[in-house]
Symmetry: C2
Subunit: 376 residues, 2 copies
């Protein structure tokens, strides 16, 4: 049956070159397509075809607990809930105690080793998370690290027009992920390419290159590739801050050689979330002259007055500290804000609602990227 339908489909398609719209709604089993999730006004409906299941629940990162789905006479379970405010959310179904992805929703993101369905709720807050009209290139490249003794993958965003404007040199934002993430975290969960595309298209941000390395020093690349991890002993004091050293001594020179970049402190920015915020703070403390634009987000890390004074002396142009008031790392950001104030370093302490979540990190990127690389 499937074979016959496929033959028929290919016969039609190759004749006319028209295929995708038909195929999008094509169901090889001949059933009506189940739509899930379905956002309508201020409600969203979730559906799952599971005729033999005993119980189906919905879990979502905006829900306070599991929501029970009801079974219809057609074997399709469903529930309608209030749509949360505009943002990107993640959810799963739980079928007879087993957490599963929604088979009707192909929008999935990977968080470390977990796959989660995405729910997009459109609105002002989330408008830059959707595709822009003019889009940059996202490339997965490999660099050789002498420090980490590995060939390692990083993600590089080049803005729309990079190829055409073949003499233009660009500033670079180094954008770092948190614990459990990898070099795909910011483009997948963080929507970094869409945010930059939209901000640049609207004239709100300077065209820039964004480099998103893998911040796990024992990894060559995201675990999905199944590459062996490092044999190095990272408890060896000689390897302290090895990843940050690789970032500043290997990745920055690699990018400045491979791409048309403005290779100077006023054209280098560094930002990172959580562990990546810690890496941001460590990098700027160890290499105070390297980055003029510094953005620790929900950061796991801190600086002494001496370290802040070194940055002040180096001439930092933006220190953008962001944290959610419910974040378990909030106190650390308050302490850092206090030190910055005491040292007299002009800075932004960007406070948001909520905690240690991607909704905040997307919002922070969307908020600080327009400030970067602006002429004074």
């Amino acid at each position: 049956m499937r074979k016959i339908l496929l033959i028929a489909a290919i016969a039609v398609l190759t004749g006319t070159s028209a295929m995708s719209q038909e195929l999008t709604n094509f169901n090889f089993r001949g059933r009506q397509r189940v739509v899930s999730p379905q956002v309508e006004g201020d409600k969203v409906t979730f559906r799952l075809s599971a005729n033999h299941a005993n119980a189906v629940n919905l879990t979502g990162n905006w829900l306070r607990g599991a929501v029970v789905l009801q079974k219809g006479t057609d074997g399709i379970w469903s529930v309608t809930v209030d749509a949360p405010s505009p943002e990107i959310y993640t959810y799963n179904f739980v079928v007879d105690g087993v957490s599963i992805n929604d088979p009707h929703n192909f929008m999935v993101q990977r968080d470390g080793t977990r796959y989660l369905n995405m729910l997009f709720v459109p609105g002002e807050r989330s408008e830059n998370y959707f595709e822009a009209n003019q889009r940059g290139t996202v490339a997965y490249k490999w660099y050789d690290s002498e420090i980490l003794k590995m060939n390692r993958r990083l993600t590089v965003y080049t803005p729309y027009g990079y190829e055409k404007n073949s003499r233009t040199k660009y500033p670079v934002l180094y954008l770092l992920h948190g614990a459990g993430g990898d070099e795909e975290a910011w483009t997948s969960m963080g929507r970094a390419a869409q945010i930059l595309d939209n901000l640049i298209e609207k004239g709100l941000a300077e065209p820039m290159i964004v480099v998103m390395p893998n911040g796990n020093p024992s990894q060559q690349a995201a675990q999905t590739l199944g590459l062996p991890t490092s044999n190095l002993n990272f408890r060896d004091p000689a390897l302290q801050n090895a990843y940050v050293k690789s970032l500043c001594e290997e990745i920055v020179p690699f990018i400045e050689k491979e791409y048309r970049v403005l290779a100077k402190p006023e054209s280098r920015a560094i930002a990172g979330l959580s562990m990546g915020g810690g890496h941001t703070i460590t990098a700027t403390n160890l290499y105070p002259d390297m980055f003029d634009w510094i953005c620790p987000l929900s950061a796991a890390g801190n600086s002494t007055a001496e370290q802040i004074n070194a940055l002040k002396k180096a001439g930092v142009r933006l220190y953008f500290l962001a944290c959610g008031t419910d974040d378990f790392l909030w106190e650390g950001s308050v302490t850092l804000d206090k030190t910055l104030t005491e040292c007299g370093l002009d800075h932004v302490f960007f406070k948001s609602d909520g905690g240690h979540v991607w909704a905040n990190w997307r919002y922070y990127l969307n908020s600080f990227a327009p400030l970067l690389f602006k002429q004074e």
Copy 2:
């Protein structure tokens, strides 16, 4: 609990920069990690933690029917089966009638709108599907199509050394997917980057650029991005072969402008599977002078003697026709082989076991890529 563990983890990690190995095996729920699938010798074991399920089955593309898992006293269902021959396979669990991904296996591939777990069985046949030591760059770029009235995404592989060898110009393989696929199909299911990396590293294939466009003319990009599809009416005769025209009149010039390529027929190859094999045949019939290396794979399409003679006159250097003897398109390949023979066009008819499957398309790419762009 989770929050506390996360704080502890981050506290340890940011202090030492050592994180990923610990985190890989980190289970926030404190349970022992379930390993699935586990290949041991000639057996493979699948496991699923599902204490409240009534029935768990395994489906796989190498299995003739569903295999029943047995529940252990610990609530973990498992089954051990004979490992299939070295290749990449896909599988799912079926829990109380609902098909799900294996939550313990983060190796997942997307086939159109379906996500499938991958089972890697190592061996000679599959050795080039694993990561090489020297890896090229995979980039997602966008080109403007006047013909299709859209900004469209394509995937570009540049070989290891492309950036360093800044004066070297490279030949280009245009590699086309089948119905239901998109611009990620060849890099995801087809392992195209790994195959080229390995072949080039071993000195078996010429360093080349590989361009993998989206062959669905109404799509801007893979459905995962959720972009609106085209409003064009592809039944309009004026839009006949619109995608193939965009490929030859827009994508080829775009690539030859954006990359350091050898822009001549003897440095252009075209290959495609199924619908993409049809596109390959259509492209070489409409533009017989454009590609000197032509590889229709399990192709949905055919050529007349007149069309083959035009290719012969144009001086094709390789015509590599491949099909599985169980493929439902086998007869079409036999017919094309016959026409090629009758026209006296030297060609390869590469016959394999099996049918219309990615195992064959990986195998074909691994087989014909070493033949491309060789000096006579």
